[in-house]
């Protein structure tokens, strides 16, 4: 962090993540978005700390980031707006995904946002390719992909990480790890950072609830990547434990009682005040503005129309709006020509 303004800016990003995640959770509780949707509460520090250590741009010249649905803060740091965020989740016709896909966003190449995919680990492979393109074109750009601790068990995660390592791609793989208990569900290694040695890449293990620690680790990883030293694996410990790990650890819950990690937003707030970087009233105002921006965006999205039903047909191939099946036409087409219709 260069100074007070940077720190407050970082808090601003973190507060926006928190406000969006809180509102999304309300929508989920109200049944307005699917119950299974992930809100990202507790991921504020790792999301914003990592993204703010990269170079965001809106003209296709910046770094690239692949957030999971838990990483709204990274989405906002890279130029995504609360309105886009809620339009997407509420499946509005005006959403970037036009109601066809849930989750945070599809790809926005200009802003360097690479949308999440549902299949765990896939985005590590994709980001290996994104950063391979940076390297092949000699661009001074890096990519960062967030992954949950459970994703590290997949073939895709392994193959993507290994590919990036082997080709010296400027990629930062952030593993959002939970507690020691949850880590034990996914690996026999003492931590995910240990795995970096097997891939031959650099690593860092930081407190994922400490936004400044995450920022510093990613900043160093990005510098290594830009200097041609390849990929880095960053383990962010103390993130919310995945539901899968909680379930799997359930049998041992008496032996390993699960404690929610400390609130990263509150931690950073306390630190800013204690170190006299910002006053409480200033941070209150930051939070108020974040909540207002989120409230306004959410209200607007809730008032917007869903996509027209026929929109389901198009977008499969370039320039093809799709054709309704013959039995949906009024009146249905008849005759031998039927065979040529969809």
């Amino acid at each position: 962090m260069a100074g007070r303004d940077d720190a407050v800016d970082l808090y601003r990003a973190l507060a926006l993540h928190r406000a969006a995640a809180t509102r999304l959770k309300s929508l989920r509780d109200q049944g307005r978005v699917p119950a299974a949707i992930r809100c990202g509460r507790g991921y504020e520090a790792v999301s914003t700390g990592a993204a703010r250590a990269l170079r965001a741009a809106s003209d296709g010249s910046g770094d690239a980031v692949a957030p999971t649905p838990d990483n709204a803060g990274a989405f906002f740091v890279f130029g995504g707006t609360p309105l886009q965020f809620f339009r997407q989740h509420l499946a509005c016709g005006s959403a970037p995904g036009r109601g066809r896909e849930p989750g945070m966003c599809p790809i926005d190449v200009e802003r360097g946002l690479v949308g999440p995919a549902a299949l765990p680990g896939t985005m590590v492979e994709v980001m290996a390719g994104v950063t391979l393109a940076f390297r092949l074109r000699g661009e001074d750009r890096v990519g960062l992909v967030f992954s949950g601790e459970d994703e590290t068990s997949t073939s895709a995660w392994h193959e993507g990480t290994n590919f990036a390592a082997a080709r010296r791609c400027p990629l930062i793989v952030v593993v959002q790890a939970g507690t020691e208990t949850s880590t034990g569900v996914h690996t026999r290694a003492r931590g995910f950072a240990q795995k970096a040695a097997g891939y031959g890449v650099a690593s860092a293990s930081v407190d994922g609830g400490d936004v400044l620690a995450v920022h510093r680790a990613v900043e160093e990883a990005a510098a290594r990547a830009r200097s041609g030293q390849g990929a880095t694996l960053v383990e962010a410990r103390g993130c919310p434990v995945s539901r899968r790990a909680l379930r799997a650890a359930g049998a041992d819950r008496e032996r390993h009682p699960y404690e929610h990690p400390p609130d990263p937003a509150a931690r950073f707030r306390v630190r800013l005040i204690e170190e006299r970087i910002a006053r409480a009233s200033d941070l209150d105002e930051v939070e108020r503005r974040a909540r207002a921006a989120v409230r306004s965006a959410c209200e607007q999205a809730l008032g917007e129309s869903p996509p027209a039903d026929e929109y389901a047909l198009g977008g499969v191939y370039d320039g093809d709006p799709g054709t309704p099946p013959w039995y949906r036409l009024e009146p249905p087409e008849r005759g031998l020509a039927l065979a040529s219709t969809t």
Binding site: P102, P120, P306, V316, P324, P332
Partner: protein
């Protein structure tokens, strides 16, 4: 086996109570594990949590962690491990949390499991089961039907039940079968109240490869499976009431091997064939069935073979888009009227 020996919720049939399709599958798994100690389960969250849809709730306590195994997110890994265990004489049943996630295991299923017997490596009695289908606002990654991704692979069997009775009997047959079986379970049918039925208390199986006449008729044959059986039955009832048209509905139950005899027999009776599937149109099973009828019963046809299917797109997220994507009762009615008037 007495009702005292199993969890309360898995003894409904023994008590003469009706069960849902999901409960029927649970009972089948439970009874097969009781009957045959070589049967065991693997999958994500199936043990402590009882599965994402609770199909295996209570199994861990009853059978222990050696037979109900929680896995990391590693579909390729645990499906491959199932093959190895099957070589050693066990009968693994693996759960895909959503069948959309079967794709990482495509390699081991198609290149290894399916070819094992032919290559001289013996039988691999593995059941790969899991939830499929749309209508639940799950979007592109939690709603797919996967049958045709595997239909083209000799060596596999594919089962897709539509009723609780069939689900239980087919699951038992699948587990006892010496070839690899993909077992699709439609999410919308899992807890559908109208599908609750009292099942026989004694052990029974439903043979693989045999279709079921779900409704007799004389003027149009609908060949279908899974959730579309019930959509087709609704359409058939409407056609009889409104048009006086007698529609026969044939529930395939097993897609591979296909029951050619049942399909051709019904077509020879009605002279008109409509194929209905929730899977997308191009490359759907309708094409294969139409070709077989062309080969086996062309002279009996009084009208072209038609199909009603999902449209050729990924499964969209927004409610209106998904409703448009899926086949409707009115689509089937329109198509049947066309056939009758041809």
């Amino acid at each position: 086996m007495t009702s005292n020996s199993r969890p309360e919720h898995l003894a409904r049939t023994l008590r003469g109570e009706p069960v849902t399709l999901l409960e029927a599958i649970s009972e089948a798994l439970f009874e097969e594990m009781e009957r045959d100690p070589s049967v065991f389960l693997m999958g994500e969250d199936i043990a402590v949590y009882g599965g994402a849809f609770k199909v295996t709730r209570g199994f861990l306590d009853h059978f222990g962690a050696e037979r109900v195994i929680d896995t990391p997110i590693s579909e390729a890994g645990f499906t491959g491990a199932a093959a190895g265990a099957a070589h050693m004489g066990l009968r693994p049943v693996v759960e895909m949390q959503f069948m959309d996630f079967i794709s990482p295991a495509y390699d081991v299923i198609t290149n290894y499991l399916a070819t094992s017997r032919y290559r001289g490596s013996g039988s691999v009695p593995v059941v790969v089961r899991g939830p499929v289908g749309g209508g639940n606002r799950g979007g592109p990654f939690h709603s797919q039907n996967v049958e045709m991704a595997f239909f083209h692979t000799p060596g596999l069997k594919i089962v897709y039940p539509a009723t609780a009775y069939d689900a239980k009997g087919l699951m038992k047959s699948a587990i006892r079968d010496d070839d690899p079986v993909i077992f699709e379970e439609h999410k919308s049918l899992y807890r559908a109240p109208h599908l609750r039925e009292v099942l026989p208390a004694e052990d029974y199986t439903v043979p693989l490869g045999k279709a079921r006449c779900a409704r007799e008729g004389t003027q149009v044959t609908i060949v279908t499976y899974g959730a579309m059986v019930h959509t087709s039955l609704e359409a058939a009832a409407a056609l009889e009431k409104d048009d006086g048209v007698a529609v026969e509905v044939l529930d395939l139950r097993t897609l591979l091997p296909l029951d050619d005899e049942a399909v051709a027999g019904s077509v020879k009776k009605t002279g008109r064939l409509l194929i209905v599937h929730e899977d997308t149109r191009t490359g759907g099973i309708a094409g294969e069935i139409a070709m077989r009828v062309n080969e086996q019963a062309f002279e009996w046809l009084d009208a072209p073979i038609l199909r009603v299917t999902a449209i050729d797109s990924p499964v969209p997220y927004a409610g209106g888009l998904e409703d448009y994507f899926l086949p409707r009762v009115s689509d089937i009615v329109t198509a049947c009227r066309y056939l009758v008037e041809y």
